[in-house]
Amino acid sequence: MQIPIPDKLSFVLFAWICAFLLPWQFNLPFIISLAVLASSWRPFRPITPSARKAFFRFLGYSTSFGVVLVIVNGLLLREGSIVFKAAIFDFYCGGFEYGLTVSVRLVLLSLSILVFFTSMRFQDFAEYLQSAGLPQSLVSIILLTLFFLEQLPNRITQVFTAQEARGAPVRAGMFARGRSFFLVLSPLVLSSIVESVERGIALELRGYYQRRQVKSTVHEEMANHVWLYVFLTLSLFVVIFSIVHWLSR
């Protein structure tokens, strides 16, 4: 089972609305459920080993971030009663609460984005953007970036090795290494400028810049997107609930 990209986008919207409008007491279980869902449910599971690694690395980062934020704010934000004492340090309830609110909000915002992107190939996302009407030039930039991202690390290594072989001070003091940074970057930028010019000409020679803009076809398929309507409805419900709650205070 695959969930279409527009539906996943509506899920991200729902998660963001919850992150900004609902309290941490709701969002923390939401995060835990999302993490479990993303690990087990195919439509949301990371599709490549590197995506899976990035996902779990982020979960580790979020946990550390949350702990640090709660502790720091518990210590520095002296609001509410003292919850905890450790040697000369007092930890305040208000500070803990603030730390939890901020960390849970950030983690929910970020996790929803990460789950969205890691559950699909970026090329497929770019093609979806094209069908949604994003200008061809911008889609081409995205796809070409993916192409360069495959090649640039190797090229950097080659230039680095070549410069080291020519005597660049890559292992000397800070200033010398700073100079080496320039020595590595310079040929890289030069070769890339040459490549950009050649590639630009080659694209032109194939009539690439004479292309007609692709008509957006996204709206024609919307009737089949059940999850889209589910998440949009839930988002609307949360917004209305928050407004009513705020008015009744």
Binding site: S140, F147, F148, L205
Partner: protein
């Protein structure tokens, strides 16, 4: 349908006070002819091809040019100011840059050219696969373009242009980084275009030129040193020793002649 190309008194400088890249070029290529543009490095071959394709006019607005270029019924004085694709197609020296990097499969890469036209995806796929079969590339259609060898890349780059059926095809050093087998394959592809497309091939490899071309133009420091047919070119070959790798060709011809003679002898012996 192939178009004739006529260049009259064409001169070109990249900027004011620059040395002439091309001087007083007068050349006529009949429709459907394969013309070899020969000469050493920096002779002006690439400049001439880029001028015909419209790239020079597009990117060198500060250049100074004079004369006229006529492609089919269209006359440009002095050069086209915009790229003339698909009427005129040009392949560059380095095939690596001609792979867009935007498409993940060879057939989609070639099909990228047709995306500018109002064709459905299935029409594009059908046209591309027909062309790939003709060029001997059908077994590579699902491969990633960045994994191809130099010879395969060169043919895919050619396919990128041929898919639009240009009436004039310009090739800038197509044999660059090609082995003998790939060169022969390319030569047979170009020969198959004879009559239907006007082809101008710029290269320094004489044996390749002799394999494909009917008209030979030798360029030296921006001027035409020779313009004639195959027999005239071969008769005058010795005069180009300083410009072209004639001795390499002679050695190749000698080797080929020896091989051909040996094969004839073996055949005669078998008959007896």
């Amino acid at each position: 349908m192939a178009l004739p190309v006529t260049i009259s008194d064409f001169s070109f400088q990249y900027w004011k006070d620059a040395p002439f890249a091309l001087k007083d070029i007068t050349l006529s290529v009949r429709p459907g002819t394969i013309c070899a543009l020969l000469g050493p490095t920096n002779a002006g071959k690439s400049t001439l091809l880029q001028a015909l394709a419209g790239i020079l006019g597009e990117h060198h607005r500060q250049a100074i040019a004079s004369g006229t270029v006529k492609i089919g019924e269209d006359t440009f004085s002095p050069i086209p100011r915009n790229v003339l694709f698909p009427t005129v197609g040009l392949t560059l020296q380095d095939p690596y840059y001609q792979i867009s990097g935007i498409r993940e499969r060879v057939w989609k890469e070639v099909g990228l050219t047709l995306e500018a036209y109002s064709l459905t995806e299935s029409e594009i796929e059908s046209r591309v696969k027909t062309l790939l079969e003709r060029l001997g590339l059908h077994h590579l259609s699902e491969r990633k373009p960045s994994t191809l060898s130099g010879g395969e890349l060169q043919r895919v780059a050619l396919a990128n242009i041929l898919i639009a059926q240009p009436q004039v095809l310009l090739l800038d050093e197509p044999c660059h980084s090609l082995d003998g087998t790939s060169q022969r394959r390319l030569a047979s592809i170009l020969c198959s275009l004879q009559g239907s497309t006007t082809v101008i091939v710029a290269d320094y490899q004489l044996d390749f030129a002799l394999r494909v071309a009917e008209q030979f133009v030798v360029v030296d420091t921006g001027r035409i040193a020779f313009n004639g047919d195959r027999s005239q070119f071969l008769t005058n070959l010795h005069t180009f020793r300083s410009l072209l790798p004639v001795d390499v060709l002679e050695q190749a011809l000698t080797n080929n002649a020896v091989v051909a003679l040996s094969q004839r002898l073996i055949k005669n012996m078998a008959k007896k």
